[in-house]
Amino acid sequence: MIYIIHIYINYNNPPDMNSVGEACTELKREYDQCFNRWFAESFLKGERSGEPCGDSFKRYQLCVQRAIKEKDIPVDGVDFMGPNKDKPES
């Protein structure tokens, strides 16, 4: 008789990182938790089902994008992987 064991390890109470928008830290935490679970349990395993974190992401983004504007952080209009374009392939 062979038993297959699934072992779950979850370290509780990881400390939180602040958001650049002070009011957004809780929303960020909620989204991060959802994302981390989806990433490890679905995305990496090749599951193509839709990402379940859309709602919490929207709420978080509304908050953080406003903070970015208020603080004049020049991140808008920066191309994805922009500076990588002029670098030779590794």
Partner: protein
Amino acid sequence: MVKYFSNNTDIQNAWEHVVSAFWRRYPNPFSTHVLTEDVVYREVTADHKLLSRRLLTKTNRLPRWAEKVFPTHLARSVYIVEDSIVDPLTRSLTTFTWNLNHTTLMAVEERCVFKESALQPATTSVKREAWISSGVYGFSRPIQEFGLARFKSNQTKSMKGLEHALLNGHGMYTAAVTGGGADMLRLKIKNEIIHVMSSLRLKSHLPIVTLTEVPVTFPHSVSSLPTLDRYSFFNPYSKGKFFGAAHTFNTI
């Protein structure tokens, strides 16, 4: 004048663990200079890649001689953009990181590729490259040297931070044991759990001292699986409550 720096290293952990830890590496004891962290863009592409952008703010730590010469730069933190692509098919994570402001003083661009090792099992190879430059006339050389020294120090901190996040494993691990009586089975399961913990390098914690059979709340993806027994365990010596659970089901 651009200074280029590159190095290769191996992390003794499976690629999936490294990539999961990549998202969880802040805060850590080596990242006190990182003040804030935010995901500001995320997309899953049609070919199943994950694109993300993180915005970080860090304290601007200049050597004292630079502080005297550039006092205005002390006021604002440094804004860092980290763009990344996770490709679960080719088992690679590529990141590109650069600073948005203070670029005249110093521009640091870094590219990292984390790839599942082709040669060694449960190992991830990391290639890091950096391009460091300064646009300040007359101070270019000392600033670049400082930038390179600080980059190397940050690189060490960054790897330590990633390893720290790897210790706080979150996920499911599979093992197989052959059965005997219920007591023997419990002992074997306990040993498997200890083995998983040490493979995650949780050696700083004492081994599990209690293995109890209690109803536990499993992650939703699991609770529908058929089970024979469920075990939960905790380590009373760890600071945060360390929770783990195991369930078994028959084969053969």
